[in-house]
């Protein structure tokens, strides 16, 4: 058992204990480490001013990890180099960084020499007031880490640049000069963050340290990070009221806004098996520690609509740490992935060890049965979610995910919808036009829906499936039918009015999202 968190900060080993380990990383960097380049603006993971780079040695990928401590020396070549990714330091506790290498803006220069992102930002006049600037420098650097190499820039197009900058807000520049910096940045080998900080001894040290469970206690707050599932469920059984920390992207926000940290926290970041993800033709199984970014890469062929949805929405800083299981367990009615999971037949797999003794009990809960009320899950005390599974997308179904938000990106949706229908026959596009134009006459044979699945977020206290409407869709599918169903959808939901839109807007857009889907089906 350890009582300290181990991180490497800009290459320097730090052991962090007690009070400091429970601080938000950004606060710790600024106040305890004296690194004030990292800024705090929103403290909720929306603005990216606190962006740092983080690499967590891939527990599963290290060949010697299971085998023991003998890493180093000529085994060094077996150690996978670090992969640095952008994350928001304002909504993660230091403890969650255990085992990580963190690089801040202060770690980017080589001596007095600016890093490529810094040079590009300066040359493109991409900083005005300067408050968002370190965050953008880190976001661009993260892009270089992934796509740079030394040849870099020709692979970086406008779309990619924008996607890497989505998680950062600037109020001064209008972004064009920053995008310009991202497009003209030239990586150098010397400045590669992975190259500079993938120190074998440090990686080995972190990996070895990660084999020991971690317990932080301060002021009545306890955070436990076990190295095995058995330890985890035992702790869960013995500590009623515990809360699992995933990426804690929601808990971090709540804490910053005045809610105290949970008194008992269970972090699963040292549990190797929870980093696993598997896919087959039948479906996908994702461990509790698998991030949305990893999921997107994983499901490109098996669930392409989810992959493109994850590609389009959300910031890299969040997707690099947030997990699918976290999205599920948080149970927000507007969780972005939930409507998809509902139509993909998702189930969660839970583990527990009643009384903290004996074998581990496992069971499966269908996602449709998981939500029993606003932010309430059908879990019994002591149960933790270990995996989620969902069906791969069938080639015969036409699946679409949509979200409606005030701003196109990095916005919590007002509503989101997931639609899937399996059709008996398809009509060629030329015929579709004929069908739609003379639809009333029904002279051509219309599309036939064999089965349908529809789910919405943001229209009730929990994300919902719509079985009655799915049933009503079975049969011939025409524009008239679509309009009838759209109207049924609008009538069947009971949304609220709030800051993101009125109830009427949610009803109208819920119906409209279905109409968008219907037109894609009919015109496909």
């Amino acid at each position: 058992m350890r009582d300290f968190v181990l991180i490497y900060l800009n290459g320097v080993r730090r052991e962090i204990r007690g009070r400091e380990a429970l601080m938000m990383l950004s606060d710790w960097l600024r106040k305890e480490a004296g690194l004030t380049g990292t800024k705090i603006v929103c403290a909720e993971g929306d603005c990216g001013s606190c962006t740092v780079l983080r690499a967590f040695p891939d527990l599963a990928a290290q060949p010697n990890f299971k085998g023991g401590a003998n890493v180093g020396g000529h085994h060094a070549t077996h150690i996978a180099p670090l992969e640095f990714e952008a994350m928001n330091s304002c909504i993660a506790t230091v403890a969650q960084m255990d085992g990580s290498h963190i690089v801040t803006v202060e770690g980017m220069q080589c001596g007095d020499e600016l890093s490529p992102a810094q040079v590009a930002m300066k040359n493109c006049h991409a900083s005005q007031c300067g408050y968002c600037t370190p965050g953008f420098v880190m976001a661009i650097s993260a892009m270089l880490e992934k796509h740079g190499g030394v040849v870099a820039a020709q692979h970086i197009d406008a779309k990619m640049a924008a996607n890497y900058l989505t998680g950062n807000l600037c109020r001064c520049t209008g972004y064009a000069p920053i995008v310009q910096a991202a497009l003209t940045v030239r990586a150098t080998e010397k400045h590669s963050v992975a190259g500079r900080y993938s120190n074998t001894a440090a990686i080995t040290d972190a990996l070895n340290t990660a084999k020991k469970s971690l317990l932080i206690e301060h002021n009545g707050v306890k955070l436990f990070a076990p190295v095995s599932l058995r330890e985890a469920v035992t702790f869960a059984a013995q500590n009623p009221g515990f809360q699992v920390l995933g990426a804690a992207t929601d808990m971090g926000v709540q804490t910053n806004k005045g809610k105290p940290l949970p008194r008992v926290m269970l972090s699963l970041h040292l549990v190797n098996e929870l980093y696993q993800a598997k896919q087959s033709r039948a479906g996908i199984v994702v461990g509790a520690r698998v991030t949305l970014a990893q999921l997107r890469r994983l499901c490109e062929t098996t669930a392409p609509e989810l992959a493109s949805f994850l590609n389009l929405f959300g910031s890299p800083q969040i997707k690099n740490v947030a997990t699918l299981v976290g999205n599920i367990a948080n149970a927000s009615p507007i969780g972005d992935t939930l409507p998809f999971l509902l139509i993909a037949g998702a189930a969660v797999h839970v583990a527990s060890r009643p009384g903290g003794k004996g074998p581990i009990h496992k069971r499966k809960i269908e996602l449709t049965d998981l939500y029993v009320g606003y932010k309430k899950l059908a879990l019994t005390p002591g149960e933790i979610i270990t995996h989620v599974s969902f069906n791969a997308t069938n080639s015969k179904e036409l699946q679409r995910l949509y979200k409606v938000s005030q701003r196109k990106d990095m916005d919590i949706s007002a509503i989101s919808g997931a639609f899937s229908m399996t059709m008996a026959g398809r009509v060629k596009s030329s015929a579709v036009n004929a069908t739609t134009h003379v639809g009333a006459h029904k002279t051509k044979s219309p599309l036939h829906v064999v089965s349908a699945r529809i789910a919405f977020g943001g229209v009730a206290a929990t994300p919902i499936r719509m079985p009655e409407i799915e049933a009503a869709l079975v049969g011939d599918f025409t524009m008239e039918k679509a309009q009838t169903v759209a109207h049924m959808i609008a009538r069947s939901i009971t949304p609220l009015s709030d800051v993101r839109g009125s109830a009427a807007y949610r009803r109208v857009t819920a119906a409209n999202l279905f109409m968008r889907y219907a037109s894609e089906v009919l015109l496909a």
């Binding site: 007031c129 600037t133 807000l169 995008v179 497009l183 005030q406 701003r407």
Partner: protein, 846 residues
């Protein structure tokens, strides 16, 4: 000079670019560029914590209007680490305000908006502060409140007087107009969303003095508010503003009370005190862009030429006056925008409501007047069946039609040229035809996305409309190694005012910009300064710096002339301290000479200077040298740094102070007539948008801008202001939505609910260009201010959205589109499909 940022028109890809901001690569970088990108720029909260320093926290009203029945701070003071609590009783002079001193620094008894501060706690740590704030006992009694302009008007709850600007008999002209149209335009506020929230640190110094570091646009006012609140003379307070993490007007007045809170804690405890608001607190407490409601009636003829305009502007000032009356004045002064209005009655009244006191925000009222007249242009066009650009060009200021309703001549008028040039450059006519065709085609297809196109203009008056504020001062210190430190009242908040002033000063002395260091703005060096606002930071402070430079140059030039005739071994550096050489006299004009001017007027004045000075001695500062030339004499050159050393040893001052007061300003606020502005910054922009018929979401496909920014000191910095101002304005007219609950609390008080533009929201194609204009000779180096004007061009995005909605619905009727600002997705969808909402908006839903 073009900047072209072409972005892929891919569905979700925002920004990007194939061609580049190449022109800007040669521009000198922002003076903080390197410290910004390395994270070494120091902002308020980056200052190291000193021993014993306290954190300040605020107790504030949770209701729009309430009586504070009980405030018990004793439980908070019992928390370990809570060191002091300050209430209204502790404030020496408890009233402040930018124009009228009507706002308590700390309220007592009755409160008038959510966020009005009733107590300040000072605590050793954030944790003890949070516990202390939680322990405060406050009992409130809710009182009737006013939470809309309509309610305020009904109850005649006003701030200041009704203001009127008029020309001719507008009502009579309306009656005789062949056509009229009338409407009501609702414009909501917007949050500044400067990334650095309000922040200050106050260090108590010896003998009762306070050193204030504040993120303020107005160090002088902050100094004064702090001194008054603490009951100490102004001379005992120094206010320093090194840099701001954004201001945009939000820190012009409203930074000061926060500095006062920290000062009161520091004075009480004798310990340093820091106040740094969270983004949520900042958004809840501080005022926004004033919401406006404008009732207008416009008369015009069949060609679309405006004959008369009668407009009544109401603004929501919030609970206290702040700058709202001046903001209203600027709104009235911009109702004409680029267009000649022969008969006008423009009236404005600020309403007092129970919201945070609204305040300056980039554009300062101007955008509201401009939104109205640009909306009228669109509607006239729709009514008479012409293209809106033709109506605009018809009404544009031009020869013979070049006097504003308030009587100022529109000089150096580039507007017709701007319209003509951009029309061609952006291919307006062909695109208009394409869009019409597109919109016609999609009427058969309810799933296609309607598009809109609109070109609007800006003619933004530069100068504070209140004359006394149009002054600046500067201190220039030349050091004996030839480098300079320059201090002015200008506050650097990202806009690059430091870099511009450094460039102006460097040019004066013929030195590289690197030789000039702009020092942190501080009231001990520059007193009685105006806020850095109204886009005039460089104009006022840069001009003052140039005046100081000219004084120093006169002395250096005289010395150089004198040295020319003296053998080097007798120069002061060789003789200093030996007392063998009398000091060189430069005071009595013994050496007649002319200092050659720098900058723009090199060319313009060369002829004049040449003819007048044919037989005179000329002194020129160039290439880090001072050069004395005279007909038939060999040129005398001396290194600038060496000349400075000679001056020092000769006991000649190489420092000076410059004061600048803008000339020509004559505006009479009571009559509403005269010349409020030194000049106008002008521009046009054409925006093309596409609407999502299912959700109402807006996509800005393309923006083309063309601006007259005079003769830029630094092209890249001006481009930065233009791009940034436009995108900031886009947020105001589209996605930025302030939502208040029934208590008057702003519920969209963080970026998760308040949506400023992200990189994905920027125009897919964004072309920005400047015209050449060397004619603005009334201003320093013929520059023009660029801070606010580009923001107003974002109104073209809103008019383009109106155009798209109107086109999509034109089969319904020729109805005019009542689209408020911001055009949120919901409002756009309601505009596109009002019938779909009708059934759900009913009070009870079956």
């Amino acid at each position: 000079m073009a900047n072209s940022v072409h972005q892929q028109s891919d569905t979700n890809s925002g920004a990007s670019s194939s061609t580049s901001l190449l022109k800007d690569v040669g521009s000198p970088p922002h003076d903080s560029a390197i410290t910004h990108v390395t994270g070494k720029s120091e902002f308020i909260d980056d200052r190291p914590v000193v021993k014993g320093e306290l954190h300040c926290g605020l107790v504030y009203s949770p209701f729009a209007r309430a009586r504070l029945k009980l405030l018990d701070l004793a439980p908070a003071l019992q928390i370990a680490g809570v060191e002091c609590a300050i209430t209204a009783a502790d404030v020496a002079h408890n009233m402040w305000g930018g124009i009228f001193a009507d706002q308590p620094i700390i309220a007592a008894g009755e409160t008038h908006f959510v966020g009005e501060v009733v107590a300040v706690l000072g605590a050793q740590s954030k944790e003890s502060l949070a516990q202390g704030l939680a322990a405060v006992v406050a009992q409130w009694e809710k009182l009737p409140d006013i939470r809309s302009i309509d309610e305020a008007v009904a109850q005649e709850s006003f701030i200041g007087h009704l203001r009127t600007i008029s020309r001719g008999d507008a009502q009579a002209a309306l009656k005789s107009s062949p056509r009229t149209l009338a409407g009501v335009l609702k414009i909501e506020g917007a949050d500044h969303f400067y990334l650095e929230s309000q922040a200050a640190i106050v260090y108590p110094r010896e003998d009762g003095q306070l050193e204030v570091h504040s993120s303020t646009q107005h160090p002088t006012e902050t100094q004064h508010v702090v001194a008054k609140a603490c009951g100490i003379p102004f001379s005992d307070v120094v206010c320093v503003a090194k840099r701001l993490g954004g201001g945009f007007g939000g820190k012009e007045t409203q930074a000061s009370p926060f500095a006062a809170y920290a000062a009161l804690v520091a004075k009480r405890t004798g310990r340093a005190a820091r106040i740094v608001l969270t983004k949520d607190e900042d958004m809840i407490i501080t005022g926004k862009r004033n919401p406006f409601q404008i009732h207008y009636e416009c008369g015009f003829d069949d060609s679309g030429k405006i004959l008369a305009l009668d407009a009544m502007l109401y603004s929501d000032g919030g609970a206290y006056a702040d700058l709202s009356t001046a903001i209203m004045e600027r709104a009235l002064l911009h109702c004409d925008n680029a267009y000649f209005i022969p008969c006008a009655r423009l009236r404005g009244q600020v309403c007092r409501t129970n919201f945070h006191p609204h305040t300056a925000f980039r554009g300062f009222g101007g955008p509201k007047g401009v939104a109205m007249i640009e909306c009228i242009m669109e509607d006239i066009a729709r009514v008479i069946g012409r293209d809106a650009l033709d109506v605009r060009k018809l009404n544009c200021y031009g020869s013979g039609r070049d006097t504003t309703p308030y009587g100022q001549l529109v000089e150096n008028n580039c507007l017709p040229e701007l319209f003509e040039t951009l029309e061609k450059k952006c291919d307006y006519r062909a695109r208009r035809d394409e869009i019409n065709q597109w919109n016609n085609d999609i009427k058969r297809n309810p799933h296609a996305h309607p598009r809109g196109l609109s070109m609007t203009a800006v003619k933004f008056g530069i100068s504070f409309s209140t004359r006394f504020m149009n002054q600046g001062n500067a201190l220039v210190n030349v050091h004996t190694d030839g480098t300079l430190q320059v201090s002015t009242g200008a506050v650097e908040m990202g806009q690059g005012v430091n870099s511009r002033i450094a460039a102006l000063v460097a040019e004066q002395f013929g030195l590289p910009i690197a030789a000039v260091r702009i020092m942190p703005t501080s009231t001990e060096k520059n007193a009685n300064t105006s806020p850095t606002a109204a886009s005039a930071g460089t104009d006022l402070n840069g001009s003052a710096a140039v005046i100081a430079c000219e004084k120093i140059k006169q002395r250096l030039a005289a010395l150089a002339c004198a040295l020319r005739g003296i053998a080097q071994e007798h120069w002061p550096t060789k003789t200093a301290g030996l007392g063998t050489w009398p000091e060189i006299s430069i005071a009595n004009g013994a050496h007649a000479f002319t200092v050659l001017p720098c900058g723009l007027f090199d060319g313009a004045n060369a002829g004049g200077a040449g003819s007048n000075t044919k037989n005179k001695t000329l002194v020129e500062f160039r290439n880090s040298m001072v050069v004395v030339s005279e007909p038939a004499q060999p040129e005398f050159k001396i290194d600038f740094a060496q000349l400075v050393r000679e001056a020092y040893f000769n006991r000649t001052s190489v420092s000076d102070y410059g004061h600048y007061a803008t000339a020509h300003l004559t505006f009479d606020k009571i009559k509403g007539q005269g010349r409020p502005f030194l000049y106008f910054t002008q521009g046009v922009a054409a925006s093309e948008v596409e609407l999502d018929p299912y959700t109402g979401e807006i996509k800005v496909l393309r923006v083309d801008m063309l601006m007259d920014v005079g003769r830029p000191v630094n092209h890249a910095l001006d481009m930065g202001q233009v791009l940034g101002g436009f995108v900031q304005g886009m947020g105001w007219v589209t996605t930025e939505h302030l939502v208040y609950n029934d208590n008057g609390l702003l519920v969209s008080h963080s970026p998760s609910t308040y949506k400023i533009p992200s990189v994905q929201d920027t125009p897919r194609i964004f072309n920005v260009d400047f015209i050449e204009n060397l004619g603005n000779t009334v201003n320093v180096r013929a520059t023009k201010a660029t801070g606010e004007p580009p923001l107003l061009l974002s109104i073209s995005v809103w008019t383009a959205v109106r155009d798209a909605i109107a086109s999509a619905r034109s089969n319904v009727s020729s109805e005019l589109i009542p689209l408020a600002i911001p055009a949120t997705a919901e409002r756009v969808l309601r505009g596109l499909s009002p019938e779909m909402f009708a059934q759900w908006d009913a009070p009870s839903i079956p």
